[in-house]
Amino acid sequence: MRCPIRVVLCGAVAAFICSSFPARADDPALVPPKLVESAAARDPRVGAVPRVVVELEIDIDRDGKVTDVRVVRSGGEALDAAAIASSRSFVFAPATRDGEPAAARVRYESVFEAQEPKPPAAVPKASVGGSALDAQSGAAIAGASVVVTTADGTTLTTTTDARGRFRIDGVTPGAARIVVRADGYDATQLDEKLDDGTLTEARVRLDKTRTPGELGATARVEAPPREVTKRVLDRETLASVAGTRGDSLRAIELLPGVSRPAPDGGPPILRGANAFDSQVFLEGAPVPLLYHVGGLTSFVHSRVLESVELQPSNFSPRYGRKMGGIIEVRLRDPRTDGPHGIGELSFLDSSLLVETPIHDKLAVLATVRRSNIDALLNSATSDESFAITAAPVYWDYQSVVAWKPTERDRIRLIAYGSSDRLALVLKKPADVDPALRGRVESTATFHRVQLGWRHRWSSGSEQSTEITYGREDGVGRFGKVAGFDYDVDTVQLRSEWTGVVSPAFRVIGGVDLLGNRFRGNYAGVPIPPGEGDHSPPISSQRQISVSQADWSWMPGASLEAGIRPVPELLVSPGLRADYNNIVGRGAVDPRLSSRLEVSDSTTLKAGVGRYSQIPSEAEVLRPIGNPNLLLPRAIHVSGGFEEKLRDQCSISIEGFVKWMDRVTTTTPDGVEPFFVNSQRGRVFGAEVLLRFRPFERLSGFASYTLMRSERGDAGAGLRLFDRDQTHILAAAGSLQLGRGWEVGATLRYTSGTPYTPVASSTYDATNDVYVPRLGRAMSARNPPFSRIDLRVQKTWTFSRWSLAAYLDVQNVLNAENREGFAYSYDYRNRDGVRGLPILPILGLRGEL
């Protein structure tokens, strides 16, 4: 460390014994005083200053002490004083004359050296760096203002460079608030704990400032991703995807690794997993469905979404009980900049959303939607075979009350629910099976209410707790086939702590208790296998009758660390523990993921983990289930890289493998114990996702997956999973033409799904139906699926509101897309069952 002031003794010359008097042999011998003890003069100046010399004249007595000091050449008042003060403390060896001590006078130069700006003091300092990104496109934001305010009130500012990067050094460690502002974006702030000598990385995502014609978005700062594969969908991109009517959750099906779901509109197939091996969460609470019946619409209004996270495998330890994948839906806070509303009317449904602040810390939001299908279908569809007595009716609602009593606390009350109903009458028994007759109706409704509290400490640590209560009711009558009624009360307590030990080490721990009280009655044919071969005709199946009322408890806990041994590497080891009281079994699953930022644009990632699944109640409850089931489990391994090709273009490529064992399946012929852990499975493949925005008005993404999903039944080799799709290609883009016009198109192509062909049949005289005899399991495939959707939208923007009219056409080429077969009574003939025909939907949307 460099001393700030340096004093140089340049010489001491006695005035009367100076070298101008040469010594002579008869002259007395004079010896000048010698400086033996000195103190540096303190330089009172700050900042950049020049070199200055102050010349002093010092009187020294016979003892070598300084008796007087005078300025001979001034360096300025302050420096003169400093030099005098310093020199008064000098101690000299006295001068001598002929060996005797003598008083003397010397000249002394006190030198004050030039100074650069004062270097940092030896006090702790930290650094903050990172990047500012467009929340929607991920593009870097150049020229954004970054302000860091520390707890001592110090404010440091900088701006982002052309790559959106910024860095500020010399920040006082401790709590700090980082505020990023950019033209056209909402300001975003992030509270972090800064550690001495450490660079804290912050990736700040900014949402574009809303205009009446645009979809609202809430700025969000995310911790660096830990998961190997976590697709975070932004609403604005996905809301413009053709064929979804702006339904962001429908657009999940276009992402890599997502296979086409079964035609019944069930959950998406995530990386070859059975649909029921994956789980949809809304704010951390499991919900029973993603789509309304038929799969045309999701149960959450897209304008309420904060984000949708898709984790098709290697998901975080915070999620358990499933071995497929995870879809996490998050709701945004209500807007606080005044009252707003959105009303929408289309052939399919009508919806209304309102939101308003109550005061500066409290705001509310509510939306409700109901289908319009019944208004059109009830009168149009009735023939001699069947009549729709109640066309599909669905409704859903979401409500959010957000209260932020302090800057660090957020308390939210969320309520949401959904209902689906369908009723029709088969006027005559079906020729293929007389059991299919009579009244067919199904109603399923669920509600959830959640109270959540999140607190952030100045250190950056965070704690969030949610308690959720849910109720689900259903009743179904399927002619003579089956009838059921049930209700389920669900309680979930979930709490998670994020501890920032240092920027290089975070710990996330959570507990999660899920309880289901269910009561139900079922009478009818057995529950069909979740995957694989056809069941015999319904008439040939033996009827069962079940009445149950019980609780199932599923406590769970998770622990995960985020370790940065070097700033570029994040290693996240974790553990997940789950238990189920009905089977009396649990599992502790280790998981590990890592991300390495090789450069500003390249990230490598990899993960491995074990995932155990809690069997469903239907699989474990007597008399139709097996309470001795083990927990099915899977090993997930995946790895890949992400590359930013340009600011507006990125690509990610990943490979993945899943090995499954102890998979629950039905016993051959449905003999006791009905369900066993005898199936195994393997899924492997690779996927690529390309996001592009070559210019401002054109954006989109393309994905491709090459995959094989297999299952192996007891005693048999591996065969294809019944929703296996080798090739999955999807591309979506939207173009803003100007003057409020926007067009979009979506292309989807997938391999056809496998099926087991019917080889022959035998006649069952007891039930007067034919029983198919199956060929080799999954040895044939349906033709490839292809679909093109188009969307055209025109928006008129007024001073206070906007109006948009859109036409969304699904399957514009009316491709047949065979989903399976309808067989003749004896299975000798068959017709293809086509998929969704061309479906144009016209809608209007007004936004205030």
Binding site: G474, V525, P536, D764, T766, A822, Y825, D826, V833
Partner: protein, 287 residues
């Protein structure tokens, strides 16, 4: 439960897709087994058998050209277990037989094993194979059979060996308002009931209260060898009041020779518990 709902909705959707494109089982367009009736030899009305007694199984077979000549063989075993049990003999065959017939009604007899041999089984599975060209070779374990050429007709029926159940009475039908006489056969078109080609007429059946036992649902199958029926099945469910009249629309064949063509009409009743009965009728379609 939502899983179940999805399953049934898809199943029903598949049925709806089938209706208009593939004809149902109401037309005999090839040799077929149309039904089977199990009864005790000692009491033809009793469908539930008693261990150790002799039983009879009557197979109703039909062909567009008239009564087929068929060789047959059958095997009997305890019914397999399982909610999705498929017809095959997992256990030992307890009875078997073979023969030939040129009648629409093929009658086979068997000895119901004693209770000890039944080992608690509540049902016997009767597997039968029929060939038009020589005796079939039946593999009961796989329920496959071979004929000299072509495919064997394979049929199965369950015979209850516990509880009580009666075969329903033979169904009576009307053609429009005219009652049809059962088991009437004539030379050429020499039968009592005549209709014009392409005529639309209802096959009418009235379910009476006596046709079902308490809690039973009864299904009527209507099958013809010519023309078009609007459906095969008509049902009389347990909760429905008697009497119930059902009308199955029949459109007589249009392309018939000048001498006319005899169309056979079969009516089969099943009680969904193993009880069955059937009746055969003839109608002349002549210009």
């Amino acid at each position: 439960m939502r899983h179940v709902s999805f399953f049934f909705l898809v199943a029903i959707g598949a049925v709806a897709a089938c209706e208009d494109s593939i004809h149902g089982g109401w037309l005999v367009d090839r040799p077929r087994v149309l039904g089977a009736r199990v009864s005790a030899v000692a009491d033809a009305n009793r469908a539930a058998l008693v261990p150790g007694e002799r039983a009879r199984v009557e197979w109703l077979v039909a062909s567009p050209e008239g009564p087929p000549r068929l060789a047959w063989t059958f095997a009997v075993c305890n019914a397999p277990d399982g909610l999705f049990a498929r017809p095959r003999c997992e256990r030992a065959v307890v009875a078997s037989g073979s023969g030939e017939s040129s009648s629409e009604l093929i009658t086979t007899e068997l000895a119901v094993p004693p209770a000890q041999a039944l080992a608690g089984a509540r049902e016997l599975l009767v597997l039968a194979a029929f060939c038009s060209d020589g005796a079939p070779t039946l593999d009961p374990r796989a329920f496959t059979a071979t004929c000299a050429s072509g495919d064997a007709l394979l049929a199965s029926v369950l015979a209850r060996v516990d509880g009580a159940n009666a075969n329903p009475p033979a169904p009576a039908v009307r053609l429009g308002d005219v009652p049809l006489a059962p088991d009437e056969r004539g030379e050429g078109c020499d039968v009592a009931h005549k209709v014009a080609p392409g005529a639309a007429v209802d096959v009418v059946h009235v379910f009476g209260g006596a046709v079902r036992e308490p809690g039973e649902s009864v299904t009527l199958s209507t099958i013809v060898t010519g023309g078009e029926l609007d459906r095969q099945y008509s049902t009389f469910d347990a909760e429905e009041a008697a009497p119930k009249e059902v009308r199955v629309a029949w459109k007589a064949p249009e392309d018939v020779p000048a001498a006319g063509r005899v169309v056979r009409l079969y009516a089969l009743l099943r009680d969904d518990r193993g009880g069955a009965s059937f009746a055969r009728f003839s109608v002349c379609v002549r210009p």
